[in-house]
């Protein structure tokens, strides 16, 4: 690491940061509707986004700063195993092609803002809806915290993160400023702010990746040299490799599939989806979103380049920022850092909005104040979005970084357990609400205990996300094993409960609701209020 502050890079970084701050505040006036005090306006951008905005928003939302830092970091440390992110994102799109349009339709028809809204409406069960809401909030919080970790990595490499002996306040000041600004414009502009900033973020990211993938290999003597150096390093270290070994293939496949199933259970993905204007927008998006997967694949290769370039860091998260600093001229390194930094702001904003919507709709309105007006809902949501961000900040500043990473790992396992209720519910009403709740509980419990028991060379608990699958003997993704258990329990109990004629909840949806599109009777293009 070069000593001191990298002035040029920092200047460029600050320039872009100021630019998006202005954009973020101006966003409040963009496509403004008359009824700005509804949750649909603040929390879903008026449900008005077309194909391209949705594309940028989803891309900005799913491919976070943490992704940019963590995926190449995994490759840097372990090689092939870290590349599962690519098949994972390939599998996501056929999946969402199948079920998201149905969720969009039923949500539009009934004014649902969150997945829990749908689950409550479909199964007539506040308990199940609460379980889904709490899982969503729990899974999102550490994810927001990790965005901060992404910003910290960039600040560290630029030399403004401070050393270990710097006063904590000076050390964390840049992070505090960045998050203060983020919180302010999310509060005032809602989902419109990240939607607009996503344009800037993705443009920067694409430029940086395009340059990096051509410029760095030329400087390092081509891909042959890069992979040779990487292969040598894994052999010397006795860990990882360029191709997954036979024993690692189950892990690779279950991680890819489990993560793909989980991605669109996250509240922030759903928020970005529901903000689109029609169900066509979603289907059309599944054909253009894979461009991001391609970018992710190229980005992952940067992990090998970091090895070939001789980047040596103890904290793998710093590998990519450090590679940029070593290889690029200062000003372009600044652009790259800005891309990662802004890449953290967009998802953090959407995640905090999504978590706030969950709290407002499914905890505040369902359990605390059932007669809340749309104005009150919006106000509560805005405040909670602030609280969520402060919580994430405290989390990162007071606890060890590994805690956030452990929780994010757990969050992925947890959120997957809401899949049977949500996606199952979109296609069939056969599952019994109590069976779904029991399946969820079993999945959560197994996943948590199993993850706790995984040790790694550096950690006694939460050392990884893979463990032996009971009964098969192969090593697989814990989340996927828990999900399988969850489904089995749900199906068996549904048979039992149906046999005993246990009371079924009231289903407020009808078959046509799942295929309705904007313009159909009862589906207004812009909902006047967050009516329920």
């Amino acid at each position: 690491m070069k000593d001191g502050v990298n002035g040029v890079a920092l200047g460029v970084f600050i320039f872009f940061f100021l630019a998006v701050t202005v954009v973020g505040f101006l966003a409040a006036r963009w496509r403004k509707a008359d009824n700005e005090h509804s949750l649909d306006e603040w929390g879903l951008g008026g449900r008005s986004f077309g194909t391209w905005i949705t594309w940028f928003l989803l891309g900005g939302d799913l491919y976070t700063a943490y992704t940019f830092v963590a995926v190449p970091a995994a490759i840097y440390a372990a090689g092939a195993a870290g590349f599962f992110a690519v098949p994972y994102t390939i599998l996501v799109y056929p999946l969402i092609f199948t079920f998201l349009p149905r969720l969009w339709s039923v949500s539009h028809k009934h004014g649902y803002v969150t997945t829990s809204d749908f689950v409550r409406g479909r199964f007539g069960s506040k308990g199940l809806s609460l379980a889904v809401a709490i899982t969503g909030i729990l899974a999102t919080m550490p994810y927001i915290a990790l965005q901060l970790v992404g910003i910290q990595a960039v600040l560290d490499v630029m030399g403004v993160g401070g050393g270990d002996n710097t006063n904590w306040f000076v050390k964390d000041l840049p992070l505090l400023i960045a998050f203060g600004v983020l919180a302010a414009y999310t509060y005032s502009s809602g989902l419109r702010a990240p939607a607009l900033i996503a344009f800037v973020k993705d443009t920067l990211i694409y430029i940086v990746i395009a340059v990096a993938i051509i410029y760095i290999p030329i400087k390092l003597g081509g891909f042959d040299e890069i992979f040779k150096a990487a292969g040598d390093k894994y052999t010397a270290a006795g860990a990882g490799g360029l191709v997954p070994p036979e024993a690692g293939q189950w892990t690779y496949a279950t991680l890819a599939l489990g993560s793909a199933l989980a991605l669109f259970m996250y509240p922030h993905s759903i928020t970005a989806t529901l903000s689109s204007r029609s169900r066509e927008v979603i289907r059309r998006n599944t054909t253009i979103l894979p461009l991001y997967s391609l970018m992710l694949g190229l980005l992952a290769l940067l992990g090998f380049m970091a090895i070939a370039a001789g980047v040596k860091v103890t904290n793998g998260q710093l590998a990519i920022p450090q590679l940029f600093e070593n290889m690029f001229p200062d000003w372009f390194a600044g652009v790259a850092f800005a891309a990662i930094g802004i890449g953290a702001l967009v998802p953090a904003a959407i995640m905090s909005i999504a978590a706030a919507n969950l709290f407002t709709r499914n905890i505040y309105k369902d359990f605390i104040k059932p007669d809340a007006t749309p104005q009150q809902e919006t106000k509560v949501s805005k405040l909670v979005s602030l609280l969520v961000k402060v919580g994430a900040l405290v989390f990162v500043l007071t606890m060890d970084k590994t805690v956030a990473i452990n929780f994010q790992l757990l969050g992925g396992i947890w959120i997957l357990q809401t899949f049977p209720a949500l996606v199952g519910g979109l296609f069939t009403r056969w599952f019994h609400r109590w069976a779904l709740l029991a399946g969820w509980a079993v999945g959560m419990l197994y996943g948590t205990i199993a993850a706790y028991g995984v040790a790694s060379p550096t950690q006694k608990h939460f050392g990884g996300s893979a463990k032996e699958i009971p009964g098969i003997g192969e090593i697989g993704y814990i989340g996927f094993t828990a999900f399988t258990l969850n489904v089995v329990v749900t199906v068996v109990l549904t048979f039992a409960l149906r046999a005993f004629k246990a009371p079924d909840g009231v289903d407020e949806t009808s078959a046509e609701d799942y295929t309705a599109d904007a313009g159909d009777p009862g589906v207004e293009v812009e909902l006047p209020v967050a009516a329920h």
């Binding site: 390939i90 599998l91 056929p94 890069i226 992979f227 293939q249 029609s278 066509e280 694949g297 046509e512």
Partner: protein
């Protein structure tokens, strides 16, 4: 779709099978890790394992696009079938409603 207007078109049709296959193919290809866990043949120095999976990003995108186009055509066909049906007094199906909306959204 159907020759008998009063009968709803069957749920499973050859077109829909093709759509399902297009959406399923990436799962088979990507989850069968053993089929591509090797280093050769390399492409411009990138081991097979990596370029093959990145090639699948493009292949799966193409397959999803095919599925999308087929689906829209299927829906439009059903919509016109449903309109014909409803003029004869039978209720329009839900799919018909969706298809007409999708048709107008695409126009």
């Amino acid at each position: 779709m159907s020759d008998v207007p009063e009968v709803k078109p069957p749920v499973v049709t050859p077109v829909r099978v093709v759509i399902a296959l297009c959406l399923l193919a990436p799962f088979v290809a990507m989850l069968w890790v053993g089929s591509y866990a090797k280093a050769d043949p390399a492409f411009i120095g990138i081991p097979f394992f990596y370029w093959y999976q990145m090639a699948w990003v493009l292949i799966s995108t193409a397959l999803t696009m095919v599925a999308y186009q087929l689906w829209r055509r299927d829906q439009r066909a059903r919509a016109s079938a449903a309109t014909r049906t409803s003029t004869k007094g039978a209720p329009a199906s839900a799919e018909g409603a969706e298809a007409s909306a999708e048709g107008s959204a695409g126009a």
